[in-house]
Symmetry: C3
Subunit: 215 residues, 3 copies
Amino acid sequence: MNNTIFNKLSPKETKFFPLLEEFAEIIMQVSTLITECVTNYQYDAALELFKKIKEQERRGDRLLADIFEKLNTTFITPFDREDIHNLANTLDDVTDNINSCAKRIVMYHPIKIPESAVKLGRILIDGAEILKKAVKKLATLKKDADTLKEYCNQLHLFENEADDIYESFIIDLFKTETDAVEIIKLKEIMHELEDAADTIEKVGKVIKTIIVKYA
Amino acid sequence: MNNTIFNKLSPKETKFFPLLEEFAEIIMQVSTLITECVTNYQYDAALELFKKIKEQERRGDRLLADIFEKLNTTFITPFDREDIHNLANTLDDVTDNINSCAKRIVMYHPIKIPESAVKLGRILIDGAEILKKAVKKLATLKKDADTLKEYCNQLHLFENEADDIYESFIIDLFKTETDAVEIIKLKEIMHELEDAADTIEKVGKVIKTIIVKYA
Amino acid sequence: MNNTIFNKLSPKETKFFPLLEEFAEIIMQVSTLITECVTNYQYDAALELFKKIKEQERRGDRLLADIFEKLNTTFITPFDREDIHNLANTLDDVTDNINSCAKRIVMYHPIKIPESAVKLGRILIDGAEILKKAVKKLATLKKDADTLKEYCNQLHLFENEADDIYESFIIDLFKTETDAVEIIKLKEIMHELEDAADTIEKVGKVIKTIIVKYA
């Protein structure tokens, strides 16, 4: 830890932005990998894709640890310490949700994966795209507040869409699937995907809070 | 955002109380609606009641957004910013639990709803009544600290009662129900009701923390 | 509440350490009790052990309330208020996880408990041992930062081990168990144990944050 007084007091306004952008990039990668995993699902391919997702999830963990250490040893930050903390944590939660989904597919080995999983995966990719753009605009928050708000609204719409897809899936599952074990498996796998969309929307809410405070 | 210096600096001690009271009122409404829903449960009526609960849940979301914006743009607040933040969030969680319960009834379409759901619903109504009174007393915290503590203790007793009802229900469910799918459905529906009682108690804990700090 | 100005302003640097040490001791006790419960599992013995775990869990609740009150009425604390708050809360979560596990065994009454539950129990005991040592070193944080970091790393290794055991168990459960109701029961019971190991690691993460800030 290079935690000298000099380092503590020198302004580091910009050093968090590239780290947050890297987080958004990780989310794009795991979203793409999980969508590949549920499209024409085959167990052996899913196992390989899970390993790649796991690698990205660990990369996210290291990144989070890096951000926390920088937060704790930096005196001046662009926003309140707790806002960056919250933002990084929520970005990490998205990665965790997607990793959990892939892990459950591998552990549970379901017979098939429903088509609605592909739809949810595509929403995650779209959400990750918006996240990447939004995180990039944080550096110019005051100038780009309106664009940022628009991104947050889009994330909200994606979440509503994901919610509807998940709801229809669950209603259909309980109507048509008679094997309780298969219900347990698919319900949890799909729930993690819906949760990921939910967490992406939460990132939007954290950004909205930052806008209200600093724009 | 009417975020002028003047607005930021003028004392706004009282503007949060009516908003918190409105939240307690929303909780009373959804508690009453969910109790209606599980009493003599019929699917079509449940669907209509879910829509009404959903409306209240959205009203709660807007209220929460309103409180957060006011918190972020107000310089002087009656308590620490984080205490009001925490209180509003926990009140919103109660509404979310009850909305989740209604949604699950609609999505899962269980064959029947157990009598213990009605008992839990009535505890939620009693808890909402106490919440309404408690939130009203926050404005006169110093004078009414003892009454407030008594309310918090009552919420704790309600939670214990809800816990016992849920526990007996689960024991009975696993003893008597042989259909695993029905177990999955009822366990989750009942769990959300128990969780709602738990979250109402949590509101009491947040209030207790506020008492310790400011009374 | 003995909340005079004098009391608020006098330094109380050391009064939180014994309380945190007591928490670590509670975790050791419940870890030992739950391991006893899942070793050669018999329902009547499990019921008695649950009662003892429940007692410890309530002791933890009182301890947490005590810490919070002291935090709210003490002006000077050894670390940031929020760090002790966070540490105590996370220690309490460990106790809650283990209590939840015991409660589920009693409520669900599974036919048998898998051998891997014993393995998880032993990891919890090892983790509790490290927690006790770590909490004791907090009082001499600056001098013992390296030892503390080493403890946190060990907790991380335990969590990885617990994760692997849980994963193998789940894969095996879905392969060999055909009774969906038994799957529901064992999955949840085992998940609480894995969660307890996870929460113990989280305590390590909170301690790591404290090291970065104050060592």
